[in-house]
Amino acid sequence: MTETVKLIVDGVTVDAPKSYTLLQACELGGAEIPRFCYHERLSIAGNCRMCLVDWVGAPKPIASCAQTVGDMAPKKDGTPHEISTKSPRAIKARNGVMEFLLINHPLDCPICDQGGECDLQDQAMGYGRAGSRYTENKRAVDDKNMGPLVKTIMTRCIQCTRCVRFAAEVAGVDEIGLANRGEDAEITTYLEKSLTSELSGNVIDLCPVGALTSKPYAFNARPWELRKTESIDVMDAMGAAIRVDARGPTVMRILPRVNEEINEEWISDKTRFVWDGLGRQRLDKPYVRENGTLRPVSWDEALKSAAAMLKVPGEQIGVIAGDLADAESMKATLDLAGSLGAKSIDCRQDGAKLGLAADGSKLPRESYLFNSTIMGIDEADAILLVGVNPRKDAAVLNARLRRAWLRMVPVAVVGERVDLTYDYGYVGAGPDSLGELKSGHPVFDQLTNAKRPLIILGQGALTRADGAAVLNAVSSLAANIGAIKDDWNGFNVLHTAAARVGGLDLGFVPVSGGKDVAGIMAGAQSGEIKTVILLGADEIDTSKLGKANVIYIGSHGDNGAHRADVILPAAAYTEKSATYVNTEGRVQRTQRAVMPKGDAREDWAIIRALSAYVGKTLPYDSVVQLREKLAKDHPTFLGLDFAPGHTGSGVAPPYGVAGAMQSSPFRTAVSAFHLTNPIARASRTMAECAELAAGVSPAVAAE
């Protein structure tokens, strides 16, 4: 595969691998090739003809995207082929293509949302004519419905078919097609049904013109008005790289950034379209509950009331961290709880049996990380999914699993039988089927014979009462099939909450003698727990907090705030520089794109202020000092953007507690993909998507 072909591109000699296309080879030589239909991550269509280059000696210009370098017959005299990307013939060919493309293009750039970031606009500057020679009527195409996310203005479409190929190849839902032909060709979904993919928003980025644009963002802003901030997504535990575009105090849109190790260049619809939730249901003032109603108060008053509530013995305090809590605020909360003597601390609001062994000691990091790393999926040669629906738990990760399946990697599933966009061998629904996986079972043998077997254990299997036993069984299975070797660790836990791994790394779990989330709730009802701090914890049943005083620190008026007695308004993930640890154990940091709303403050600063009011002032005055302490106490936070992967020195499984498992089937952790956190629940776009998803898929509606 290392064989190369020598080419001369515009006078520069390049050695291009035989698998390269001529377009890639030209780029090796430093040439810039215009293109519309070609995309690195999609199959080659060769239908826009914009990438024409002049192959010296060839009778016609060559579409460089569709010419594989290895297929170019060597010249008789052995000299390398000469390619010219700048010769008059190449330029004239491209000018001609551009003129044809513009014949039926409406040229409505002033009212087009793509204006300013449009490939056609940019390339027309380079290859277009000053005026049109076409005097006939232009073609008009009916706009199509593609759902609540993708707005279509199909007259602008140049039929590059990138969206068709993305839907079929990456998203795995064959829903977009090119109907009719010739002048009547039009992109459509079947009978204009909405797209059902969780990755559908990516077609907006892929569309080189303004035919597919973002519906929620329509006519809101121009790209040059926006302040771009590179950040990290917290909608799931992958920590996809995003760019937050804001104007003034408002986040206007969220786009993906390239991070090959996590999301490549895709993001899920929840990540992309959740931004309208950042402006709704916001807590912008501190509140105190009086006579059953919440009254806006000053910070001083709110912190005094909260401090008064914390003047109880440490055993009567419960602390629960939610799914969006950042490491800094959890560290501050943990330090505060420690100084108050609180032992009932938990970051696992879903009740996952992770992080703690039966005797209350901490489990090794390998027991709750995605050890193979997300990129490791590309190396795996047999995959088993247990109690996980990656399509909902981590939609972008599912695209990578699908790519593995396209490489003919066998995938097997224990859990719910759902459409994952690829075929899989179905072992069974619950723990009983895990027991069947022994020598002689085809799936077991498949995994055993694989060089790099990979098991993904989902939260659906861990949040059950017997979660610790499932963890034990699956980690033993991983050891039995040889998934844990010197150079490979194929035992993976896929988290659904951005905060979870950070919390487990910090030890945000009950201290010996403390209660977990279920215990705190029971204690609150029985009166054992008098005060509960909710650090953005909204996915618990807040009606079961009895008569306890509830201090809610968070950004949105959701379940937690509805039950709270004191509300301390905090910043959302786009409003603070905060550290999150993704499911691989990769420490990443968000950046502030806009300021917190109203009187809201960064979470850690609120806890620092509260600590002064309770008389246990925390030893840090800035986030820098806090991070220094964080790194000192927990060395895993020292390095940024690094996935530990397999270190070779980890603790071998089994993890968890060996024990009997119930036979009830595994349930998917995420039932409504679009409504998993307070920001998403505040978003109108997500509500619309959720309604549609519930209507489209009866399996979800029945739940």
């Binding site: 009916d142 064959d174 829903e175 977009i176 097609g177 090119l178 109907a179 009719n180 032909r181 009547d184 039009e186 459509t188 979904t189 079947y190 009978l191």
Partner: protein, 230 residues
């Protein structure tokens, strides 16, 4: 062609393959490996269209997709690409009038006007569900221009008079003979052949004994002794 798509698919009647279509599609499917049986999609659509009174309804298209393990949009792409698939109801006798240059030069425009008067607008079903017509591109029978394909057969060398008679015959329940409607043998010159008329071409009198077979391999002994003159 205007945009070909389903109009009001919610009104389409349900569809199920009958035994005959089922067997025919199965025969086509067997030509391909089972994981590639989508290759049979064009014949399958054609068979389905035959069963469904000459057009593909939305349920019929879905039936084909499910039968071949394809997604609906992929079958829809094919059905909209090929004009031989009708996405709207057609008459029992569906007239495809060729309007391409040779036919146009020989009077296809008049035939189109006549169809419009007699049958109605393009794509419109009339005569109690008996007739419909569309204009199509070249059907490859230019030598017999102008021509119309009615269901599966070509009716050639038409004039307004012969076309009217054709329509009347179909309306009366007769099955007119396909082929040319002037006095000629298939695509031979009108009236009678004008070349190759010499009787001796056909009576065998011109036949002569063969001296040698051109380019035939030479027998090894004879080739050296007696070279054959070509």
């Amino acid at each position: 062609m205007s945009h070909r798509r389903f109009h009001h698919p919610e009104n389409h009647a349900p569809f199920a393959f009958n035994k005959e279509s089922d067997d025919l599609i199965a025969w086509w499917e067997r030509k391909y490996p089972s994981e590639r049986r989508a290759s049979a999609v064009i014949p399958a659509l054609w068979i389905t269209q035959k069963q469904n009174a000459g057009w593909l309804s939305e349920p019929a298209l879905r039936a084909v997709a499910e039968r071949l393990g394809m997604t609906y949009i992929r079958v829809y792409e094919i059905a909209t690409f090929y004009t031989m698939f009708n996405l709207e109801p057609v008459g029992k006798y569906h007239f495809q009038v060729c309007g391409t240059t040779p036919c146009q030069l020989r009077g296809a425009d008049k035939l189109k006007d006549f169809c419009e008067r007699k049958i109605g607008p393009k794509g419109h079903v009339s005569g109690g569900g008996k007739f419909s017509w569309v204009e199509v591109e070249c059907l490859g029978a230019c030598v017999n221009a102008p021509m119309i394909q009615i269901n599966d057969y070509y009716y050639e060398d038409l004039s307004i008079e012969t076309l009217e008679k054709l329509i009347d015959d179909f309306a009366a329940g007769k099955e007119p003979q396909p082929g040319t409607y002037v006095k000629r043998q298939t695509s031979a010159p009108e009236g009678a052949p004008t070349s190759l008329t010499d009787e001796t071409l056909y009576d065998g009198s011109r036949a002569k004994p063969l001296a040698a077979i051109l380019n035939a391999p030479k027998p090894p002994e004879e080739s050296a002794a007696a070279p054959v003159k070509a």
